[in-house]
């Protein structure tokens, strides 16, 4: 009986840990899309976050510096996408795909250039107990708390502050924002930078907290699962967070079930989170409405 409880607890903790990167990326997706920019590049921004976190941790020995680097480089890619989308009015989806390739290739390129080994970086100092939030015992737990804080903060920001309300307007009818004397393009740019920062933070978690190195393709599509979470969560911060945890559950399930169920091969179980995302976007009941000006260059 206690073995069962232990299993359930393991599943619970693992779910939370596996959800963290998706939650951050999904929150990024929410702020971006609410302002009217579809951010397909979340995957690339996570990669940039993960890779730069490792580089800077390696450089300085401090995972905190690595964390900040991760946020910064994610935000930087966000800036590129945001700038392209607002001032060059490019096709946001195509640009996002481009960003992903640039980040993925850039990281692989960097691995060889900087560490002289393809495939994976050397190990670095991991974000440990007490480093992020003094009272919290493990790095992962600190991130979980941070994630909840971000969800709470984003929710408050979007629905209660003037800037959040204006960003909502940008995503529905940017013309109204212009008429009000504001600049919707600049608001959108800031939102996409913020989304990149959040995704970068999620990526940094992957490389310097959950493990302690960067390896090719370690983001494994989480940036896209995050997009599914945004839709599933109806473009709200708490909804996206809940959806992200839902997908994280399936990733955690894979680890817990491995070896326990003989007829379910571990390879097949790797597909669980992706299948969950598929079912999620297909099985939506009721009307699903993206922000009205989402994806449309202004």
């Amino acid at each position: 009986m206690s073995a069962g409880i232990a299993l359930a607890l393991t599943l619970l903790f693992l779910t939370l840990i596996k959800s963290v990167p998706i939650v951050f990326a999904a929150l990024g997706g929410v702020i971006s899309e609410r302002s009217g920019v579809v951010n397909i590049g979340l995957e690339g921004m996570m990669t940039a976050g993960a890779f730069s976190a490792v580089i800077f941790t390696n450089l300085t020995g401090s995972p905190i510096v690595g964390l900040i680097a991760g946020i910064f480089f994610g935000a930087f890619l966000g800036f590129i996408l945001g700038f392209a989308a607002t001032f060059f009015k490019v096709d946001q989806i195509v640009a996002g795909v481009g960003i992903n390739l640039v980040a993925l290739g850039g990281a692989a390129f960097g691995l060889v250039l900087i560490f002289n080994q393809p495939g994976a970086s050397p190990q670095v100092n991991q974000l440990g107990p007490g480093q992020l939030l003094p009272q919290i015992t493990t790095g992962e737990a600190a991130f979980i708390v941070l994630g909840l804080l971000c969800a709470f903060g984003l929710n408050w920001f979007i629905y209660r502050t003037p800037w959040g309300l204006r960003i909502q307007a940008c995503g529905e009818n940017p013309r109204a924002v212009t008429d009000a004397g504001l600049d919707p393009l600049r608001l959108r740019l800031y939102s996409v930078i913020a989304s990149g920062a959040l995704a970068g933070l999620g990526g940094a978690f992957l490389s310097i907290c959950e493990v302690n190195l960067y390896s090719d393709g370690m983001t494994a599509g989480r940036g896209f699962i995050a997009l599914a979470a945004v839709i599933f969560g109806r473009w709200t911060p708490w909804g996206a967070t809940g959806a992200a945890v839902f997908f994280g559950f399936f990733e955690a399930l894979q680890y817990v079930l491995q070896g326990r169920i003989s007829w379910l091969p571990s390879d097949a179980m790797q597909a669980l989170p992706y299948l969950a995302a598929l079912f999620a976007i297909a099985g939506l009941v009721g009307r699903v409405r993206a922000p009205a000006a989402d994806g449309v260059p202004y």
Partner: protein, 348 residues
């Protein structure tokens, strides 16, 4: 003249940019660009064998790029060419290990099976979009990962070759091998990896161009992509078109997977594609979604892929620089509006 000017403003300009970026990448890697470009071109065009290898890479890219172009023209974003390619190759590999018949029949059947595999994989995304309005951007990408898992499982388990130690299917029976590229005069390609698959790919491009410009189906597909609301109101069955377009798109990519299995590897394993399905997106954009220009674009990228290995080996420039360049090309080409209106696109 007008065509040339229009290209310069878009795809050709992007290619020029690519050269500049490649030079910068080489400098970053501490390599003299002259050296880097020398090895790039020597590795891709410097002789019979390099050219053959370049054409092999061109073929591998051309099939999925044609598939992606087709979907794009219909207003759909297919980032799942990688998975569709994989599924096509998987089916071809699985069947080809046991199918014994005259060569022309076997090859035909295996390529057809590849189309079926890729078609089903694309069709799933098409159905999800048609029936549930689920974004094909997300679904095709999710299916890539599912394909990888599925193929990985099958190839390490039920379909594992009894002969090999690694995870792969049993080798194709010899009559399933694509014939080598025919000799030109005294030049033979029997000792290279080049097969008639390049000819099949070009033929596919010609067929697609014909479909787009001359058939009613192609007309309706283009209408659906350019003006979805007008198309819907003119009587075109949009859900059906979505399903058909993504299925066909997947089928063409799957054909590519089968071509790699029958022509190059002669078996299936999960290293079939080093990302051809993703690079194909860049190829499609550079080719401006026009099947004939996509062939040219595929050749250009084929040079990068084939030459990149030589460049890495001899000049020390990591070939991942090429991925970065591809991404930047896509970023630049994003400035051209590819989708008409978002009004009827799936929520994302």
């Amino acid at each position: 003249m007008k065509v040339v000017l229009r290209l310069l403003a878009g795809p050709a300009g992007a290619i020029l940019l690519a050269f500049v970026l490649a030079a910068i990448a080489m400098l970053i890697a501490g390599v003299n660009p002259a050296d880097g470009f020398y090895w790039l071109f020597r590795g891709s065009l410097g002789g019979r064998r390099p050219i053959a290898e370049t054409l092999v890479q061109t073929t591998a890219l051309l099939f999925p790029a044609l598939g992606v172009s087709l979907a794009f023209r219909a207003g759909l974003f297919n980032i799942g060419a990688e998975g569709q390619l994989l599924m096509g190759g998987l089916l071809a590999g699985a069947v080809g290990a046991h199918f014994a018949g005259p060569q022309w029949l076997t090859v035909f059947v295996l390529l057809l099976i590849g189309m079926v595999g890729g078609g089903i994989w694309g069709g799933i995304a098409g159905w999800l979009r048609a029936r549930f309005n689920a974004s094909e951007i997300i679904s095709t990408l999710m299916l890539n990962f599912v394909a990888l898992s599925l193929a990985g499982y099958l190839v390490a388990g039920p379909l594992k070759s009894p002969l090999a130690s690694g995870a792969e299917t049993a080798p194709l029976l010899p009559n399933g091998w694509l014939p080598a590229f025919p000799s030109i005069g005294s030049i033979s390609f029997g000792d290279t990896r080049l097969t008639i698959s390049i000819l099949i790919a070009i033929a596919t491009a010609i067929v697609l161009r014909f479909v787009f410009t001359r058939t009613v189906f192609g007309y309706e597909l283009r209408a659906a992509g350019e003006a979805p609301e007008a198309a819907r109101r003119s009587g075109i069955n949009m859900p059906r078109m979505t399903l058909l377009a993504l299925t066909l798109s997947g089928a063409v990519a799957g054909l590519g997977g089968a071509a790699i299995v029958t022509g190059v590897l002669h078996r299936f394993n999960t290293s079939l594609s080093p990302g051809y399905g993703y690079t194909a997106i860049a190829v499609a954009l550079v080719g401006d979604l026009n099947p004939l220009w996509v062939c040219v674009a595929a050749f250009g990228f084929g040079i990068l892929e084939a030459g990149g290995l030589m460049m890495q080996a001899n000049a020390g420039v990591p070939k991942d620089a090429i991925r970065v360049i591809e991404g930047l090309i896509i970023l630049v080409l994003a400035a051209r509006r590819y989708f008409a209106t978002r009004a009827t696109a799936a929520p994302i």
